[in-house]
Amino acid sequence: MTERRVVVTGLGAVGPLGIGLPTTFDALLQGRSGIARIQAFDPSGFDAQIAGQVPDLKIRDFVPRSYRKSAKVMAREITLAIAAAFEAVKDAGIKTRCMVECGAAQPPVDVDSTRLGVNIGAGLICADLTELAGALATSVENEAFSYKEWGREGINNLTPLWLLKYLPNMLTCHVTIVHDAQGPANTITCGEASSHLSIGEAFRTIARGAMDVGIAGGAESKISPMGLIRQSLPGRLATDYNDRPDQACRPFDSERTGMVISEGGGLLILEELQRAQSRDAYIYAELVGFASANDTHDWNTAPDPQGQALALAIRKALAEASLQPEQVDLVVATGNGLPEHDLSEARALHAALGKHAARVPVMATKGALGNNGAGSGAIDLALACQAMRRGVVPPSSNTASPDPKCGLNVVARQPLETGINTILSVSYALSGGQNAALLLRRWQQ
């Protein structure tokens, strides 16, 4: 059975370095950091008080006027996804209902809605604590929370649609509504691996003919008291850098101590090759390989020191694409700046790529962007597509003294000008054991 070919024709990202993929890419090239003290709430009571926050995001800029009132049922994650989707669709030059109704494109709509699908990775969405704690605090007896009071009166302090803000599939659902995407729709929830799994699944959905265009990637925000403490409790965060946030996250560096939380969304437009060609779309890359694999080691305590599952995913993806390790020109690593996880990831790359692992340039963005969870992988992948187009790889922040145990050629200090034909992008869930690898090739007739 022959599969249809799938290409990337649009990139959209929102992150701590700005709205839009080119803005983020240029800021990274300039070595700017998106990490700063948390503004969204007073973080003084936490051991880590810094994050990568998205500046000045207004939902009104990304939805038709008639949809603005829906903002009240949107958690931050939903807003991020909608903004990234808008950017991606705009970049692809596809006239969805949203683009036409927003005045961003001339009518008519030029995509068959039933052939347009959405697949957005998401995390656990933390409830707005100001809203929820305020409601819970009304139901107290003897200084403790009372179920009886809550059931009788307290629950009415929450808006009727409260739950709908927090269902992880609402990122996808809002995007389907705004863009009138009636095709296959899914929400993958596998931690940091979600973006890659969503893009991989959308790639397959187009390849087998169930849709022609896919909006795929992920979005998440970890910037809330609950989001922060869930990373702080297991000791994952860099806690010694509250006074110099831009230096906190140090991917593959000898001095790395932990990660930095952030928020953001990345979405790619995937398109069936002939459709993209027939409309003369700019083709960033062709998707040529995808695989996922489970870590069956006891991931509860620490990552597999050998990174075997990630290595398996990479090998499977290379085999699908009929590529040799030496043909990979750029590796997009996860590089969260966590001592054990970075080492595990590096060992996976060595296991799968052999000697080439020490030579191939590695792009790592977390030093400047932090880790937002489900959205980071797609932002990285979008940045890598841009790197291929521009022939330059942005440097990793804070990889000042690369860890010899990791033994990777991380692009640091200066941008690297280089021709790129093949990109390997990897990701893994920090807990849960999911791993994924994607391979992209420069498009050639």
């Binding site: 604590l129 929450l158 599939n169 169930a210 869930r230």
Partner: protein
């Protein structure tokens, strides 16, 4: 020729019991898993009952494997126990040629129950009544003391696949989707696609969920989605009945072993049925309402039938989403009517949610298992609590009593909040 995907094992943990045959018999007898809520004090909530899993002990299912999974959340425990049953039935342990890298997992698992009591402490202590706002410093002080990193992470929706992978050494593809009430139907559909394509030979697939916790119940109460018949809980879930007033919140897990046909034949595995079609669509309509003409539901059913390469006339029975909300049942009926035309009245349609309640993310997998059992025994489980015909719901709902029927192809629907529609089509296995 595309690779065919068959079912070689199934297991569930449900509000009506924990093994396949026992629960199936109760479903044919028109039983009920619904009772007053006991997991927490719901006595003053608008809805005070639910379909809880009762007398569940994970250790009894896992035995020697239990210590490694002792921290599993309630719902992940359901998934592990259901998967143990499915795996044992498939006899994959006896297959010495099994390749771990070709065994994958695709679950539609929900988020784990919120650690509510420990969550409420900092919320209450951190609230500044004078300023009417949250004092995040105070909140953090109490949160560091009361929250546990393990319990927090075990709530993540990808934990079920994480635990399952270690228990069954499943090193192949790993996915979890969370598309609300459609999740496990979608998971099984996508798992089928992975096997068809050749990315795996065996997939552990299904779903698990428990939203019977204070915030889950609160959320659904506020949406006014739940039945409030506190005085007659066992007849509260009334799919397609004119007096229906909402669904009954349930919990549980359903897990299937999906396998490529040749792989199953090679090892002489029990073949319980074939997955022949999958359709997935979005309503793209409203967050709060189903599309009023059933556009997405029709497209999902049509998609599954087309994918299977059969015709609408071949569908012998429809396992409805049938939640017993006014809106769902009316529009699902309309969608079936529009798609199947005159033949719609002749197709039996039933909803086991009348007995099991609504298992949310796990609902689709549990219902698909009932469809496989219906094929095996050539009998359709009833829609119970059906007394008052609704002019808007005018199909044959197999009211109150099971029915013998000749079944070969069965269609199962799951629709999620936000307009996610997924349909599976299964068939009696014929070599």
């Amino acid at each position: 020729m595309r690779r065919r995907v068959v079912v070689t094992g199934m297991g569930w943990i449900t509000p009506m019991g924990h093994d396949i045959e026992h629960v199936w018999q109760k479903l044919l007898d028109g039983g009920s898993g619904i009772a007053p809520t006991t997991i927490f004090d719901a006595a003053t909530f608008p809805t005070q009952f639910s379909a809880e899993v009762k007398d569940f002990e994970l250790a009894a299912f896992l035995q020697d494997d239990f210590p490694q999974h002792k921290n599993a959340s309630r719902q992940v425990g359901f998934a592990l126990a259901a998967a143990r049953q499915a795996w044992d039935q498939s006899r994959l342990d006896e297959d010495h040629a099994l390749e771990p890298a070709m065994v994958g997992i695709y679950m539609g698992s929900g988020e784990g129950p919120l650690d509510f009591d420990n969550f409420a402490v900092p919320a209450v202590k951190g609230w500044n009544h004078q300023a009417n706002t949250l004092d995040t410093c105070q909140w953090a002080e109490w949160a560091y003391k009361s929250l546990s990193p393990t319990i927090e992470f075990e709530q993540d929706p990808n934990m079920a696949i994480g635990h399952l992978a270690t228990m069954f050494n499943a090193q192949g593809p790993g996915f979890n989707c969370l598309t609300a009430c459609a999740a496990s139907t979608q998971a099984i559909g996508e798992a089928t696609m992975l096997i068809r394509r050749g990315d795996a030979d065996v997939m552990i697939s299904g779903g698990c969920h428990s939203m019977i916790h204070p915030m889950g119940l609160t959320g659904f109460c506020r949406l006014t989605a739940l039945s409030t018949r506190n005085d007659s809980v066992q007849t509260a879930s009334r799919p397609f009945d004119q007096t229906r007033d909402g669904f009954v919140l349930g919990e549980g897990a359903g897990v299937l072993i999906l396998e490529e046909l040749q792989h199953a034949m090679r090892r002489g595995a029990p073949v319980l049925g074939e997955i022949i079609g999958y359709g997935s669509t979005a309503d793209a309509f409203r967050i709060t309402d189903i599309h009023d003409e059933g556009r997405g539901a029709i497209a999902a059913m049509r998609g599954a039938v087309d994918d299977a390469g059969v015709s609408l006339a071949d569908v012998d029975y429809i396992s409805a989403h049938g939640t017993a909300t006014q809106e769902n049942d009316k529009i699902e009926t309309l969608a079936i009517r529009k798609l199947f035309g005159d033949r719609a009245s002749k197709i039996p349609v039933s909803s086991v949610k009348s007995m099991l309640g609504h298992l949310i993310a796990a609902a689709g997998a549990v219902e698909l298992i009932t469809c496989l059992l219906a094929l095996r025994d050539q009998v359709i489980p009833p829609t119970t609590n059906y007394q008052h015909p609704d002019p808007n719901c005018d199909l044959d709902y197999v009211p109150n009593k099971p029915r013998k029927a000749q079944l070969e192809i069965v269609l199962s629907n799951s629709f999620g909040f936000g307009g996610q529609n997924d349909t599976l089509l299964i068939r009696t296995f014929k070599p």
